[in-house]
């Protein structure tokens, strides 16, 4: 059995940032366990630019953003094991992992950072009728084929879902010579960033059809076409709007799901909205010494925020390991008010001496609405935002001074006021 102060599960941007922060805070023995062949996580296949504007103040591609952290990790004595899959974490923070070289690994950890990322929602979860032919894949799988393996997964493409991965893949496939016929979006608004609609679709005259979905796939061996249809207010397809589109590939970009199978096995409480763990402001779960950050906690739109969140988790884990955490913990749950779908963290230790940032997403598009933070019924801040959209993560800050005034009976609410 091996002994480490900190075991980080996942070597993507979240895991690396958490490990580096913990190292910086003075944690000695740290190991990162990564299931892929290299560090970097999903960034390795995200070769487009747009990463790092907030954190590095320059625009980087995914591999470049990852490389900066990989370089930093390599300069430390953090142990990295790639091609290593964590199979189990028990209630005493004993981690079981496996790889080809070491076989089964048993690692006793003082603290654990969960940074497993997320997976894509597959076709089966969508109830699209039709055959099970080849040529139906998630946008992320297609991205791996094109960007890492160097193969074209399709020539005539329909994309379902206008999340950022779908939009990015529309442009990638077009640049590599494929014809992207249409991007369909079930909702009346796109889940992706506006700038990606401009530079990935509009630039290449790829139509975006809102309130439209794929209802049926056709083709015996390889996909030959799809039937699309507009949907009504209840998101049900409207029969009279059905339209056949010839294509050999259907790419799905219909949502990301945090990969919390390990988390659930430990018995950690899961937020039903985020599908991630319930955490405090240092990203500690309800299981002492286990922290979670990045897309395994809640799906982010920008890696820069993943990095910053994971540094918090790294700091929290270091405080826990080194005995620097606030001696007393008084937790207050954060409450979602009107228009707010979720809040992370879900609870705050009011004995924390620093400002606390609450991240949240709204349930629909708002123009010119106010974001209101209420503590104990008092309005602490009320800021007008030009636009709030479900695809864009927002935040509000509770100052350290406000925290200091709170006790176990306090309430924290964030709501949207139109």
């Amino acid at each position: 059995m091996l002994n480490y102060d900190l075991v980080v599960v996942g070597g993507g941007p979240a895991g690396m940032a958490a490990a580096l922060k913990a190292k910086e805070c003075g944690v000695e023995r740290i190991i990162i366990l990564e299931r892929a062949e290299t560090l970097g996580g999903i960034l390795e296949q995200c070769i487009h630019s747009g990463f790092g504007l907030t954190y590095f103040k320059e625009e980087l591609s995914g591999p470049e953003y990852a490389a900066r952290f990989i370089d930093m990790v390599e300069k430390t004595d953090i142990v990295v094991k790639c091609d290593t899959m964590v199979l189990d974490i028990d209630e005493n923070n004993l981690v079981t992992a496996v790889n080809k070289k070491d076989g089964l690994l048993k690692i006793q950890a003082k603290a654990i950072v969960l940074a497993m990322g997320c997976r894509e929602r597959p076709r089966g979860a969508l109830e699209i009728a039709g055959t099970r032919c080849s040529g139906i894949m998630t946008a992320g799988t297609a991205q791996k084929y094109v960007n890492l393996d160097g193969y074209m997964p399709g020539k005539k493409v329909v994309i379902l879902g206008s999340g950022d991965i779908g939009l990015i893949m529309a442009r990638r496939m077009t640049l590599e010579g494929a014809e992207v016929k249409v991007v369909c979006e079930l909702m009346p608004y796109s889940g992706g960033l506006n700038r990606n609609i401009v530079q990935c679709l509009n630039d290449y005259n790829i139509p975006l059809r809102l309130s439209t979905t794929v209802v049926e796939t056709h083709g015996k061996d390889r996909l030959e076409g799809v039937t699309i249809a507009q949907v009504d207010d209840h998101l049900q397809p409207i029969e009279s709007t059905k339209e056949y589109i010839e294509c050999d590939t259907l790419m799905l970009s219909v949502g990301l799901i945090p990969e919390n199978e390990l988390t659930k096995n430990v018995g950690i409480a899961i937020d039903r909205v985020t599908n991630g763990a319930v955490v405090d402001e240092m990203r500690q779960t309800d299981h002492k010494g286990v922290f979670a950050c990045g897309n395994v906690l809640h799906v982010h739109d920008l890696v820069d925020f993943v990095t910053m969140e994971s540094q918090l988790a790294g700091q929290g884990a270091a405080d826990y390991i080194l005995g620097n955490a606030p001696a007393e913990a008084v937790y207050v749950n954060t409450t979602t008010g009107n228009g707010v779908r979720y809040l992370v963290p879900q609870r705050v230790n009011v004995k924390n001496p620093n400002d606390v940032k609450l991240y949240f997403r709204v349930g629909k598009i708002y123009k010119g609405a106010k974001v209101v933070l209420e503590i104990d019924g008092r309005i602490i801040s009320s800021k007008k935002r030009p636009k709030l959209a479900p695809g864009e993560m927002e935040n509000v800050i509770i100052s350290a001074a406000e925290l200091a005034k709170m006790d176990e009976n306090s309430t924290i609410t964030v709501r949207v006021e139109e």
Partner: protein
């Protein structure tokens, strides 16, 4: 060379029959039209081992079902295939339906079904608390079970091949000539001769039968649609839950699978003949499954669906199995019209068909080297830590997890490809190992499985298919 026996169709009946024939010193060939075994009704059905109370007393269905159900546990054990004796319940949702339940009980007694009992509401709900409040009683058949039909077929084929049967894939029989007591079968991969032919061609068995002039039955393709739900809800029920049967079949069932998922379905819809290979799901069918599954268990929600699929059953117009020598040609043996309870009956049908052929040939010697035990397949997910460590020490490929959702290693995938009658495509790997059957449905591991297949088969990755023929996954290189 002339084979003693050619079996047409490597579904569960053909594969188990091949295995039974391999007990004899005979030259047997198993012909499959597609790229893999279990590609027809076998891979897409309810995966239930019925107790045998449904069929009318005196029918072949009744006879072989009860016998097959009794044989299934030992066959699965020999072949190292998952089987679970979970028992089944036919639930009454109104006092009137209790009459049905009692009628089924009586029919079961006539068919010789063991271990049946009628439960009252209290007993039923103690056993299955997730049932709808309307549930007021049930027929419990404790001998019923669940099995993985394609694993059974894969294992049976593997065992048959190990015992000397030749397996030929992509060998659709397109025509049959009969001259001087010998059949000539025409396939895209050449002609072959055989003295006896066993017709296990499933939904195509009437077409094959007509090739020798026997038009005594017609197969009506009957579509059934299903959902598979996440393992998180796999224990919603422990028994297989049937509703009272109708003219079109046993209705929508709710059942756990041997892999701990929950399955709901099927619909029953007759299709025109030309749609016999149409395994598309339909919006209407899926909606119907949802609606009726909720009648049994209101908590069933397709929000937990990980996939949906369609099976096409081979429903014969004569309404019973068609088994034994054809009236037109005694060397042409029918194993046709196999619909529910076909899977349950399969072990018994296989024994019967093999013996019909053996007796017809006469004076057949036993295959001295026959071994009915299939070599145990290493399953990382089921192994203890000690077994895992030992396996990795022997073969490091067992230390590399390819499918995260189902915990499937590279070693298991390589084993599946290298096995007798092994996997040749992505779906073949999936059915043998479960790689890609989990929550992400191959999102992460699909491309790795393609790579491993290409490496093992010595071909380019754009030659790898999902399930043979034109189901390629990739086109040309980008650069």
């Amino acid at each position: 060379m002339c084979y003693d026996v050619a079996i047409i169709g490597a579904g569960v009946i053909g594969a188990l029959t091949a295995r039974e024939l391999s007990r004899f010193a005979l030259n047997t060939v198993l012909l499959e039209a597609t790229n893999d075994v279990a590609m027809g009704a076998t891979k897409a059905n309810s995966a239930i081992v019925h107790a045998g109370f449904d069929a009318k007393p005196g029918t072949l269905k009744a006879k072989f079902n009860v016998k097959g159900c009794e044989m299934m546990p030992s066959v699965c054990k020999e072949l190292s295939v998952p089987y679970k004796n979970n028992g089944s319940l036919v639930v009454a949702f109104s006092p009137e339906e209790m009459d049905h339940v009692r009628a089924l009980y009586e029919r079961g007694l006539a068919n010789g079904v063991p271990q049946m009992s009628i439960l009252n509401e209290e007993e039923l709900k103690a056993m299955e608390p997730s049932l709808a409040p309307e549930a007021c009683g049930a027929l419990l058949a404790a001998s019923a079970g669940i099995v993985c039909p394609y694993e059974l077929t894969i294992a049976a084929t593997e065992n048959a091949v190990t015992n000397g049967v030749e397996f030929r894939r992509n060998s659709k029989v397109e025509g049959i000539d009969f001259e001087n007591g010998v059949f000539t079968l025409h396939t895209p991969r050449g002609d072959l001769q055989a003295k006896y032919v066993i017709n296990c061609a499933g939904v195509h068995s009437d077409d094959v039968s007509r090739m020798v002039g026997d038009d005594s039955f017609t197969i009506i393709p009957r579509r059934g649609e299903y959902f598979i739900l996440d393992k998180a809800v796999g224990n919603m029920v422990s028994h297989t839950i049937f509703q009272c049967p109708t003219a079109m079949g046993k209705g929508i069932l709710v059942t756990p699978t041997v892999d701990c998922n929950l399955m709901i379905g099927p619909t029953a819809e007759d299709l025109p003949k030309e749609d016999e290979d149409n395994t598309a799901t339909t919006p209407k069918g899926l909606a119907q499954v949802k609606k009726f599954a909720c009648k049994s268990c209101p908590a069933v929600s397709t929000r937990n669906a990980i996939t949906s699929f369609t099976g096409v059953r081979a429903h014969p117009d004569v309404d019973d199995f068609i088994l034994g020598p054809s009236k037109v040609n005694a060397q042409f043996i029918q194993g046709a019209g196999i619909e529910s309870p076909g899977l349950s009956s399969a072990p018994a049908i296989a024994v019967y068909l093999a013996h019909v052929v053996a007796e017809a040939i006469g004076d057949v010697k036993a295959n001295e080297s026959f071994n009915g035990e299939r070599k145990d397949v290493f399953r990382f997910r089921h192994a203890t830590d000690e077994e895992r460590a030992a396996a990795i020490a022997k073969n490091p490929a067992y230390g590399r997890i390819i499918c995260r959702c189902e915990t499937i290693t590279e070693g298991e995938i390589i084993d599946a490809i290298r096995a007798p009658a092994g996997a040749r495509d992505v779906d073949g790997v999936k059915r043998r190992t479960r790689a890609g059957m989990g929550r992400c449905q191959g999102g992460f591991c699909g491309s790795k499985v393609v790579e491993i297949l290409a490496r093992e088969l010595g071909c380019d990755i754009n030659d790898i298919t999902k399930f043979g023929s034109g189901s390629n996954i990739l086109f040309n290189k980008t650069k």
